[in-house]
């Protein structure tokens, strides 16, 4: 079932809101689309990475002499081939990067900090030879004690990963190094007073495991450095300008020397916003003077890329009898993996964002552990903190005997609400979403045996950022649209629709491509739910620039002043006194006169897109828990979310459904399992169990449309919010189905079974962890 709830009846669209077939579709259903691993160059070598078998070890020496003389080996790189980088945080959009850490994540320097940490890379004439060469590289390790868990890593006697890491955000600064990179705090009002006023207080501790983005396409790159030092990179990425910047920095090359082309991307979800293989492939190619192709296998993806943080969260909420929340407090401890930079900051900012509260305090800790460095994963940080907060909200509603939707409506953030992290919200669609949930067929349907229903809300900020779009009017009146945010799920469709809408042409006349880094101005990456918002905004601006130019050309041709020309219904028309004196011209006519009226016509927009607006979602989940096995099945699911304006509703629904499915995996199955030596035991899809088709029901959607006043068409980003509510919604459903409230993810069958047994033994509905 797919529904829409609109709040903006005034604006009529011709193309936006329809469901045309995507322009890149045919290539993708016929196997012709070229993804990361599908590209090859004549004479290319195969690049492979040697990885640390230890979770934590000092690297005393790397001997490549035997490997270097193996016939067919053309280049080897180790830490000695990369200059060290000073510790300096550089803004990279949503996150900060520290090149000191980036260079160490790409190739270990003093220490291997996680199992799978790259130690060396080899380029050879065949895969077989490359693998043999890796075997011949001798690494002298001094194995050190390791630590995997954030709470453990914070203990005073925990093994320390970085001997120079002094916790930031604490005064006075600690004198001793620790694994806590940073402490952050957001405070509003007076929580002590708030808790004093409360009639009911619930305080709980939660634990979540790291989960991987799980894109089906492994990381892949082809790099070719020519004799003059100019380089071509062909790579699967969410941001090819970011790849260019990182590679240029790590290699010490001019940015202009590196041209990066983004291949089709087989899923990213945040995980393809960083570099792993790219600098290695470039360094190898430069040494070997041949193109080098590198592709990770699935094991490497699990061991050395992604995931998002596992975490420990403590939440305390106080409320009045009528459900009004008077105080909220949380402490979040997020694993960052081997280097600082967990998404604990956005986690803190999101925690209570769905609510209009006076008294809030959130403290977060960014904790390094001997695991792969976390990467962004869809609404990074938000799902973890909001899972904990929403679970406590549900428990309070239950204790007070309130309907969980009513409880949320009583506290819901709305236009003018000041969020705990600072800003005041503009128009937002949370109340509309909750009302839509309340009236939905799902919320009002009967439940079967062993079934329970849960609901949760979720929030994500969304971002804008640097964006360039170029729109060219071709000689025949068709249009070429160049954007620079990789298309992860229908972007080209929605951009061509927005161009067609603005220009009054058929959508099939607009051919969109994702341009390379040398062909278009800078673009920040696809992430933060920004691509439809920002590239869409730039597309509309580029189209408007083109319209302006079309008017100029017509005024020249007609020899009338510019202000005597207007654009209406896709045509330039003489206006005022001249109305009707000349034949109106569409873009096809303008294209014909372009040469003689001033040259080629290009609409261009290079902007920093401001005004991204948050998107709120509400999910309803039905869970059936088998009392014999503890297995949970999701029997019905509905996603309700504010899209501002759904440009191509089918792909908006797709984002809702895909995010929900990932959340269901996070809630019920997915987790990293390590052995005592800190080695990952489930680096494959068999044992890292993501949802398959037979695990899931149809996922119903309700698109709420409360327009974003700062986007020309009202668009909000929609990609990330859908992964925020599922875990709490499912935990609430499981509670009602099984009688047990769980405070740990994933809620896998053995845990559920044990929880149900414990409750039976206690003879009551006692909570368990």
């Amino acid at each position: 079932m797919q529904e829409r709830v609109k709040k903006d009846p005034e604006r009529e669209f011709r193309v936006v809101g329809t469901r045309p077939i995507r322009p890149d579709g045919a290539d993708k259903v016929t196997g012709r689309a070229k993804f990361g691993a599908d590209f090859k160059m004549a004479g290319q070598l195969v690049g492979k990475v040697l990885r640390s078998p230890h979770a934590h070890a000092r690297i005393k020496g790397i001997d490549v002499s035997k490997a270097a003389v193996l016939p067919g080996v053309k280049a080897i790189v180790t830490r000695d081939d990369f200059k060290d980088q000073g510790s300096e945080f550089v803004p990279a959009g949503e996150m900060l990067v520290n090149y000191r850490d980036v260079v160490r994540n790409v190739l270990a320097r003093e220490k291997a900090l996680f199992e799978g940490h790259p130690i060396a890379a080899v380029a050879a004439t065949s895969e077989k030879i490359a693998r043999e060469a890796l075997r011949l590289i001798k690494v002298d390790y001094e194995v050190l004690p390791h630590v995997l868990d954030a709470v453990e890593a914070m203990k005073p006697d925990a093994p320390v990963l970085h001997e120079d890491m002094i916790t930031a955000g604490v005064t006075p600064p600690p004198t001793k190094a620790s694994n806590v990179a940073k402490r952050i705090e957001f405070v509003m009002g007076d929580i002590q007073k708030g808790f004093k006023d409360a009639d009911v207080i619930v305080e709980r501790e939660f634990n979540t495991k790291p989960v991987h983005q799980g894109y089906i396409e492994p990381h892949a790159v082809v790099a070719s450095v020519s004799e003059d030092g100019s380089a071509e990179v062909w790579v699967t990425t969410q941001g090819h300008w970011i790849v260019r910047a990182h590679c240029a920095r790590l290699l010490g090359w001019d940015i202009s020397k590196i041209r990066v082309t983004a291949s089709e991307i087989g899923g990213g979800f945040g995980g393809k916003t960083v570099v792993y293989l790219e600098p290695l492939a470039l360094a190898l190619s430069k040494k070997a003077r041949k193109p080098v192709k590198m592709v990770m296998n699935r094991e490497e993806v699990f061991r050395a890329s992604g995931p998002t943080s596992g975490a420990n969260i403590w939440v305390k909420i106080g409320a009045k009898k009528d459900g009004r929340i008077v105080a909220g407090e949380a402490i979040l401890k997020y694993q960052a993996g081997a280097f600082q930079g967990s998404p604990v900051q956005p986690g803190c900012m999101c925690a209570f964002a769905p609510y209009d509260l006076e008294n809030v305090k959130v403290v977060g800790y960014d904790v390094v552990t001997n695991r792969p460095k976390v990467a962004a994963y869809r609404a990074p940080g938000g799902p973890i903190s909001e899972y904990a907060v929403e679970s406590v909200v549900d428990e309070i509603a239950e204790q007070l005997g309130l309907d969980p939707i009513e409880m949320r409506l009583k506290n819901a953030a709305k236009e003018g609400t000041k969020a705990a992290y600072g800003p005041k919200f503009g128009p937002i669609g949370l109340v509309e979403g909750l009302e839509a949930a309340k009236g939905s067929p799902h919320w009002n349907a009967p439940l079967g045996k062993n079934q329970g229903r849960g609901i949760a809300a979720g929030f994500w900020f969304n971002i804008g950022g640097e964006t360039t779009v170029s729109l060219q009017l071709n000689e025949d009146g068709t249009l070429s649209l160049m954007a620079g945010t990789p298309d992860v799920g229908g972007l080209r469709a929605s951009l061509s629709m927005m161009a067609a809408e603005e220009l009054g042409v058929d959508v099939a006349k607009v051919r969109p491509i994702i341009a390379d880094t040398s062909s278009l101005g800078y673009n920040f990456l696809t992430g933060g739910s920004r691509s439809t918002f920002s590239s869409g905004m730039a597309t509309v601006e580029a189209a408007r620039a083109m319209i302006k130019e079309a008017c100029v050309r017509a005024s020249k041709l007609w020899e009338i002043p510019l202000d005597a020309v207007t654009w209406e219904d896709g045509k330039v028309r003489p206006a005022g006194d001249n109305a009707g004196k000349h034949e109106a011209m569409d873009l096809g006519d303008i294209a014909k006169i372009a040469g003689k009226t001033g040259g080629p016509i290009v609409g261009y927009s290079a902007i920093t897109a401001h005004g991204a607006a948050p998107s709120f979602g509400v999910h309803i989940a039905d869970a059936e828990v088998d009392p014999e096995t503890g297995k949970t099945t999701i029997t019905r699911y509905t996603v309700i979310q504010d899209a501002g304006k759904a440009v191509h509703p089918a792909y908006v629904e797709g984002q809702f459904q895909g995010g929900a499915a990932q959340g269901i995996g996070w809630a019920l199955n997915e987790e990293y399992i390590y052995d005592d030596n800190g080695r990952l035991e489930n680096p494959g899809f068999l044992d890292y169990r993501m949802p398959v088709a037979s695990d899931l029901p149809m996922i119903d959607t309700i698109i709420v449309e409360v327009p974003n006043p700062r986007h020309p068409y009202g668009v909000r980003g929609v990609g990330e919010t859908p992964i925020v509510p599922p875990m709490a919604a499912i935990a609430a459903a499981v509670k009602r189905a099984s009688g047990v409230r769980f405070f740990e993810l994933p809620m896998s069958p053995p845990k559920i079974l044990a929880g149900m047994k414990a409750v039976k033994a206690n003879g009551g509905a006692k909570a368990t962890t």
């Binding site: 469901r19 077939i21 995507r22 890149d24 579709g25 045919a26 993708k28 259903v29 016929t30 196997g31 012709r32 689309a33 070229k34 993804f35 691993a37 599908d38 077989k128 983005q213 799980g214 894109y215 089906i216 396409e217 492994p218 089709e264 991307i265 087989g266 899923g267 990213g268 979800f269 592709v295 296998n297 699935r298 992860v488 799920g489 229908g490 191509h648 089918a650 792909y651 629904e653 797709g654 984002q655 459904q657 895909g658 995010g659 929900a660 499915a661 990932q662 494959g684 899809f685 068999l686 993501m690 949802p691 398959v692 088709a693 037979s694 695990d695 899931l696 149809m698 996922i699």
Partner: protein, 158 residues
């Protein structure tokens, strides 16, 4: 050791290639025959992105050796459409927006075609279990299942 010489039929055409003993059929299709429509998501038989038909049987080509293809008839995603005319499954996947990134799409299409050849009128549950060997991380499967149901109806002339 010398490479093996393999002759087979791929999408109706006779092909020959040389392969190493350990090369999988997927490697051979992609690297030796330049048919990159079948994808490698795991190389362990868990994702279905590499699905092809071998003598009418649906297999994960990452679990078949290249040498085993000798004398066999192989069908890949590249052979699914009839010239310019898309197969009904391809058309319905597009109409239903059953792909986001599209990396899983070739595998789903090959597997769905195998299903509909056996069971022209499957239930939703049958489709879900048949496709349980194909992972999609983007769509939540909803639109894929709808596309298969719709294509099946069209192919039955319903």
């Amino acid at each position: 050791m010398a490479k093996h010489h393999v002759s087979a039929t791929v999408n109706g055409d006779a092909v020959e290639f040389l392969c190493e003993s350990e090369q999988t059929l997927l490697d051979c299709l992609r690297d030796e025959l330049d048919l990159t429509g079948a994808k490698e998501g795991c190389s362990s038989g868990d994702c279905g992105a590499c699905s092809v038909m071998v003598d009418g049987r649906l297999v994960c080509s990452c679990l078949v050796l290249g040498v085993e293809a000798s004398g066999k008839s192989i069908e890949t995603i590249e052979g699914l459409s009839d010239g310019e005319k898309l197969h009904p499954l391809q058309q319905k996947f597009l109409e239903h927006a059953a792909l986001q990134c599209g990396i899983c799409t070739p595998g789903f299409l090959v597997a769905s075609k195998a299903l509909l050849e056996k069971h022209p009128n499957p239930t939703e549950t049958e489709i879900r279990y048949w496709l349980a060997g194909n992972l999609c991380r983007c769509t939540g499967y909803d639109k894929i299942i709808r596309a298969v149901i719709d294509a099946a109806a069209e192919m039955r002339g319903a």
